[in-house]
Symmetry: C2
Subunit: 358 residues, 2 copies
Amino acid sequence: MKIAVDAMGGDHAPEAVIKGSLLAMKWCDADLVLVGDELQIRRVLERLEYTGDIGVVNCQETIGMEEAGSVAIRKKANSSSSVAMRLLAQGEVAAVVSAGNSSAVVAAAKHFVGLVPGLRRPALIVPIPTHTGRVFLADAGAHVDAEAVNLAQSAALASCYLQVTECLDHPRVGLLNIGREPGKGTRVIQRAFTMLNRSSLHFAGNIEPQDLFSDSVDAAVCDGFTGNLVLKMVEGVSETLVRMLEEQLKAEKSEPCEKLRRSVRLFQGAHHYPDIGGAPLLGIGKTVVMAHGRSQPPAIANAIKMAHRLASGKIYERVADELETRGAMTEIRHLNGLHVLETLRSKWGRTAKEANPR
Amino acid sequence: MKIAVDAMGGDHAPEAVIKGSLLAMKWCDADLVLVGDELQIRRVLERLEYTGDIGVVNCQETIGMEEAGSVAIRKKANSSSSVAMRLLAQGEVAAVVSAGNSSAVVAAAKHFVGLVPGLRRPALIVPIPTHTGRVFLADAGAHVDAEAVNLAQSAALASCYLQVTECLDHPRVGLLNIGREPGKGTRVIQRAFTMLNRSSLHFAGNIEPQDLFSDSVDAAVCDGFTGNLVLKMVEGVSETLVRMLEEQLKAEKSEPCEKLRRSVRLFQGAHHYPDIGGAPLLGIGKTVVMAHGRSQPPAIANAIKMAHRLASGKIYERVADELETRGAMTEIRHLNGLHVLETLRSKWGRTAKEANPR
């Protein structure tokens, strides 16, 4: 199975990406294609004394981490992420992995590979390890803001994804909010609440951030800004607490303290996203895995391994099938229309038809 | 000094509020006025076998925790929060404390007491204890969403507040975002970045959630949804981590483990907001302190103590003076105008004046 890796994407590209790719080839039987500036790639491979036959697809343009994605993919048609996505669209590779500018990767994936029918946007799905298992966040950063219909679609995506990957019959989906009551939060969230409440999904209502850790839902839906913030908060708080404990534990050599230290590090490690690897960009027609911009080689290797697993299991295709079978996108379109109609009605009184029944 | 307490506000009102008020009277020399349904209040006081002369102002209406604030204060002119705010506006009391429906309290404070000149909205300012000290969040939940100008004004408010209360000469203010680069986050944040960057505030740029804990800023500015989410994330993550450690420590009786257990509990306690007490609703002309809806008596007592301290130190008045002296609101209005002009110019090309210089 061939996987394209965006060699120029990420803060430590191309070196970290190439090292990670070589590592991944030891971990799984994927054929990798490095997409990027061939000269630079060959130079790094030489320095690493690599003599194998990893594929390289040359392209000169690179999209910087600060550029606006939708603009960048139009201006730079031959950037590494665009070329990788084109390879995926043409069926030359089975998956793409990128740690590059996330808005550009999302834009290129949408443009070249395309979305599942009826879907408006993809969502990045990331698990947070909790005390009792894990909870998935959707969207964790593909788009900074969202409309109600985007949130509802992300909920359907997450539900189908968990059904396929975690074998859950009716995954519980909640809306991440600052209060549990239906009237809480922004208008967008309130509206998404109404839509999800009427949908056929197993909707658990609003959940507060604390609820993420109490096994009250399987997936929490939010806009990408909120999702990304939550991930980084988990990282920040656990790091702070761990540093505090480490300081206290420094002098202690006793057996229980050693045990504690190990488990504290384990907890922190589980929440350190630059080390974890990739996250599936769900809703794209074919497998796209995004890695953290600050990814080091092991994270890149993990992301590639994940892409390999997702593509082998045909997860994206099965999620798309599930969405189709359930009629999820049609349902949400219908609910959205209904909501718009109700809003108009409550604003302008009776509709023309009701006023003039004949 | 007289302080009005909204006896009907909060999930455990009126009992928890009245208990908290009686507790507060032992802690500080405030004269309290309980505002609410006199019959209910007298009944609770009787049950508590209280024989002192705490003031009671009767009012029949109560705003539920689920009602929309701006609507509720118009429909219920004699709700406990509105009556308390009127007492404050008329100078009958020096401060108001409420654990009630936050949108109603904010709306009533704005409507009856009024804002500092030039300010568009108040902001709730809450400290997060960190490894090295603490960092203040503004807004922590007064308004769920924000425009760029609101964020800029919150930054100025926070800066003046820290100058007055923490004796910092040039408090460092950052914009809470999901990345450090200026182009990150929503358009609102990007625009606030431009405005703050040009302002006379000590602007530290965008900060990521992890940076909250690394002493890189004194105050972090965000909309109320984000701020509230951050507080609840800190609470949730620390609680989870603490529960995990507690489980491991359960069997251990050794001295270092005891020490560790104490410090872990201390950390968690410092982030458990329902126990902490109140937060100043800054930007209102007179002292208003809001407590968590789930407040128990000690939290109410803490909130009253805080209101007493803020009103005695004339903190709100000094913050208003500082804003006036610095010309902060005028500056932000100017920067906002400038930004609007630039946006128009980049959208529609040269202005009419440039096209026809005569």
